[in-house]
Amino acid sequence: MRVILDENLWPELATALNAFEQRHHISFVHINAIAPGAQDNDIPRICREHEASALVTANVRDFGARRIIFEALLDAGISVIVLRPSRRATLTPEVQGAMLFRHLRSIASTLQDTQGRLLLRLTEGGIVETSLEQLHREIS
């Protein structure tokens, strides 16, 4: 299984995470390496071309408004993993890595098991899963 890292994530993170590809059966590619500055509506195509099922991104501001974009990505068939900062932690490359490494096994198994598309919200505290249907209800 493959996952694409968005441009706000540290570009070297893909290489670091790929050291565990065999162990968790999940690989990562950074979007800047394949489609720098890509538009939102190109992401489903880019994911298909690279056999990726999810996009990892980070969001530091109004999650409510940004969820509309995540809903549209889920609607287009792409799961979204979003890193959210805590009051204590800035999303520096180290924190981005720590959050993803800590939950790598869980992310891989959730994406493998799921039938539909999911929004996975990653914080220092853990992972919160939201289905497209739940997201529709929360937003509308």
């Binding site: 720098p36 538009q39 974009i69 990505l73 609607d75 999303l91 520096t92």
Partner: protein, 225 residues
């Protein structure tokens, strides 16, 4: 092409809170003004209406409408007694020609009665301003509307004073980003809580120095209220 719609938007359309619209259209725009024009019905129905605990959401087209209304209002200097009615009538006429498939070349001119008028080549609308206007204002309004039409077609607006930044409805739903990237101004500002700008440039080689410093300045700029 946008995907099918079952959510609030399809990918490639923008979505903006009122605060974001004001931030992008700084320094003169305020949330209060946006809410006022919304309440007057000039901007059309919001993507998601105001509800307790949830932000009002606007489309990219509505962002351009806010900018246009403000520009026309500031420059045409309508008499205070008639400003709202006139701007409502003028905006409605202009928007029906600006945001459609067909391209209308709109042109402002002085009518024989001395009033300001706008034409699409076939139909004209005359509006009274009650004020003296600078002679070069009318051609400036023509080019402003042409630019607005171009922005509508490419779904992107420049951010005044920050040439390395852009709000593109097709990138992160219109969140201000460093031009040519998907890196939000808000994200790099967040990183500076722990990282020096030089360190960010080293870690993110596709972020250029000028873009980074403009993003930081844009995020630090005080918001009008």
């Amino acid at each position: 092409m946008p995907s099918r719609r079952s959510g609030l938007i399809v990918l490639g359309e923008g979505v903006y809170t009122v605060a974001e619209v004001s931030h992008i259209l700084q320094p003169t725009m305020t949330p209060r003004k946006v809410h006022y024009w919304l309440k007057k019905g000039i901007l059309g129905d919001p993507l998601r209406p105001t509800k307790t605990g949830r932000a009002t959401l606007l489309t990219f087209e509505q962002l351009l409408k806010v900018r246009t209304v403000q520009h026309l209002r500031d420059n045409l200097r309508f008499s205070l007694q008639r400003v709202t009615l006139t701007i409502e009538e003028l905006s409605d006429w202009v928007f029906r020609r600006l945001f459609t498939k067909q391209w209308y070349e709109l042109h402002f001119y002085r009518s024989p009665k001395g009033a300001v008028a706008v034409t699409d080549g076939q139909h004209d609308l005359e509006v009274g301003t009650g004020q003296l206007l600078m002679p070069d204002l009318l051609p400036e309004l023509d080019s402003f509307l042409r630019k607005t039409r171009e922005d509508w077609e490419r779904r992107a607006v420049e951010i005044e004073g920050y040439p390395r930044l852009v709000s593109n409805a097709r990138i992160l739903g219109g969140a201000p980003v460093i031009r040519g990237t998907r890196v939000e101004t808000a994200f790099v500002a967040h990183l500076t809580k722990e990282l020096e700008p030089k360190e960010i440039l080293r870690l993110y080689p596709y972020v250029n120095e000028e873009g980074l410093y403009q993003a930081l300045e844009f995020e630090r700029a005080p918001l009008a209220v």
